[in-house]
Symmetry: C2
Subunit: 460 residues, 2 copies
């Protein structure tokens, strides 16, 4: 037989009990000596205030966004209850992948795909919907590209009885009708962006008739509607520090599961687009490192086609192409940067979370980039050995985990490698088909292209 039984102490899946579910999120900024630079008002270029942000975001979320001193923030009970429907998520020992690679390394992955949104996004969506409901709001708006965040927010809104209006990038709206229908099944209103429902949308349609839309445009429309509609706020699924805070549940569970079996990770790997998954996964480990209690290698993996950490500049930039949101100091490719159309899946954001940017700038974590076709090779190997069909985003982390495991094979080291498997690829089969048919191409921006984008950075 091609596979045989592994006798071992660590089970295939380490599940925490519901009692062991973390009761508080961890705010890594509290332990950072160099705090992330503050968001700036795009007009005044002064740090944004609570009053300014609370016109767009829920009060409690603005507080979380601005709080860089409180280390633990209790998870409200209704959010904890919702978490229990799909959490704790399993930490899986990749016995079969290890065997296929012939590596002495021990590979673990934290699987966040076992919920209907198909990704970790639900961890923050339910928190944000809760705070909106608690504030007495009646609705939320947001944008979505590939659709995972929109689905997560639609689920969370259905749970708390909130109206949910999702502006979905037009090309995704048309190419991913199933994603759209999942959101509608959860009661969300889904509008292709740009649309004629907003001034921004009308303006863009006038200037670029026939455009297939962009995330930046969808953000601008969602923000406009949120500000104009009574009892409604805008919510965002990545990049913001509040989102990283909610996503710390991933890392806290991972650490609790590893501690249970006295496993100390050597390397922790996560894919990075806006940084919410990676920031959440590494949070408690980074906390230990910042406090000098332990040391770990932590690696951000980004697409070679959208390499903000590895090839961007560390500067203040616009968070959105519409330039309505605050300025953020981060590793960025420039707000005008749009990844090649040959780029599949998410991880297409031009910037990076301010927190991760500061940590990377301070040399506390590493970053690397991966080439698309190699990412899909790793994804296919993973699917065939570990059973789970991974999202293209998550497969960036798989690729680097495999590389590190193969290095261990050469050196004979039995390192503990942990990576985040953020989601499933069920809605990404168009990209898989391209790969299966040998038609997938790679794209790496030239230095010249990037330096042009950098010239449009705002002067602060």
């Amino acid at each position: 037989m091609s596979h045989s039984f592994h006798s071992n102490e660590v089970p295939y899946k380490i599940y925490l009990t519901e009692e062991e579910l973390p009761k508080a999120w961890y705010n890594v900024r509290a332990d950072m000596k160099n705090k992330p630079a503050p968001l700036l008002n795009p007009e005044t270029r002064q740090p944004v205030t609570f009053e300014e942000l609370s016109k767009v975001f829920c009060d409690e979320l603005v507080k979380q966004e601005l709080d860089d001193t409180t280390p633990y923030i209790p998870i409200p009970q209704p959010v904890l209850d919702f978490y229990k429907m799909y959490r704790p998520s399993p930490l899986v020992r990749a016995y079969f992948l290890e065997k296929a690679l012939g590596t002495p390394a021990r590979i673990y992955y934290k699987f966040e795909g076992n919920n209907t949104s198909g990704s970790h996004k639900l961890n923050s969506a339910i928190a944000q919907a809760y705070y909106a409901k608690k504030q007495g709001l009646t609705g939320v708006t947001t944008e979505t590209g590939a659709g995972q965040w929109g689905t997560a927010l639609a689920m969370a809104s259905a749970f708390f009885g909130l109206d949910c209006h999702v502006y979905m990038v037009k090309c995704s709206y048309e190419q991913k009708p199933y994603r759209r229908e999942v959101m509608r099944t959860y009661g969300a209103q889904v509008t292709p962006s740009p649309s004629t429902t907003t001034e921004t949308g009308k303006q863009i349609l006038k200037e670029h008739p026939g455009t297939s839309g962009s995330l930046g445009c969808a953000i601008s429309e969602a923000v406009e509607v949120a500000v104009k509609t009574p009892n409604t706020r805008y919510v965002l699924g990545s990049v913001l520090t509040q989102v990283l805070l909610h996503q710390s549940i991933i890392g806290l569970e991972t650490k609790a599961a590893l501690d249970k079996y006295k496993i100390k990770p050597d390397i922790i790997i996560g894919c990075a687009g806006g940084g919410s998954n990676l920031g959440g996964l590494i949070a408690p480990f980074m906390g230990e490192k910042l406090r000098g209690e332990a040391d770990y290698r932590m690696i951000a993996v980004e697409p070679a086609s959208c390499p903000s950490l590895t090839r961007g500049v560390y500067a203040y930039d616009y968070c959105d192409t519409g330039r309505v949101c605050p300025l953020s100091k981060m590793y960025t490719l420039g707000a005008g940067f749009i990844p090649s159309s040959s780029h599949s899946g998410g991880l297409r954001y031009h910037g990076m979370s301010t927190t991760l940017s500061q940590l990377y700038h301070d040399g506390l974590m590493e970053a690397t980039s991966a080439i698309q076709t190699q990412v899909f090779e790793a994804a296919t190997q993973f699917a065939r050995t570990e059973g789970i069909l991974p999202a293209p985003e998550s497969s960036h982390a798989i690729k680097v985990a495999i590389d590190e495991a193969l290095k261990c094979k050469e050196t004979g080291e039995a390192k503990n490698i942990v990576f985040g498997l953020t989601g499933t690829g069920y809605f990404d089969m168009v990209a898989y088909q391209e790969f299966n048919d040998g038609k997938m191409t790679d794209f790496i921006p030239s230095d010249q292209e990037l330096s042009i984008a950098f010239t449009h950075l705002p002067k602060v």
Copy 2:
């Protein structure tokens, strides 16, 4: 807040440990006083022999098919190891659904959708692939309609390094390209049926140019290729008794989880197409009932558009429309019966497992049917309260579980209701869209239509 914390002893999800995973499948036939009628050779009309069946199926699987006396059959270690990648599956207490219904009933569901095949089908696929590999075969063939079974077999074949050739009903092949790509990602060869790769296919294409195919035709093609190809056998995902045997893992885990919390179910509900999920779910409970140790209500739910148990006849019939497979005594609508094109999802088989047919005939279980639009209403309510987007098939069980819970609300009884949630609906969004748009229609065959189909039953 619309939801508050439930203090309780039973967690949201009851997980067994890997040590508690059942080590043997349970063969309910061993405890049946009236054994299911034997399969007949369609030509001789005599019970089929091991020799006859082993030309089409793997030896070990034929033994299991013919064995109605051995109560427990050990699960081979490599299959157990594979099970550990996605099992034990959770038994979930539907606290939020109970609250939404305002029922005193306690609702539990066994969730089989947390694997890439999206359903319980993988439980049998991995067993069948294992026995094929053990016999030294190099490949397997099968048919698939909606694609869950084909995906499961592709995954299992990839794991054991077997060639996998799937004949996919042509209309599904074209309408569900994502399903097809998942199979290809797992290395399977997928051919739209009818095809020109078989004599059967060529014949059908000649007689019906432009046909969109049928499951019966796909079965005939897969069997033909299996018989003609060296070291290759045909495998089937439902109906056969061997499949119900493998699916008993569902019921055994469910019972172990309930026993852990000393919960005795009053009602056990499952959807029924060919019967593999339901037969697996109820197996150990039915065993207790047959041995006089306990009593339970067990309910099969079938679509009103394909009502084999509730409106069919109990007679020998062809298992496939191509009439190449053995004759089976079962509740049937006639091998020529094809559900209306308005019927969504699976559960479209004209017959029913011989085991379940005998148990139903002997009054040991109940059956009811559900109307499609009401099934999707239940599915939507479930998705919005419990988070999981259910498959249309599984939603038949949800509908009846909700009905029973609402009866409890009227009577004030706190019954324990257990149902099988066989899979997720990610690949069924076309049907959800029809429902969301108010365009879904219902179809119930007339008595006259059914009686015409009955006239074509074989004379035995």
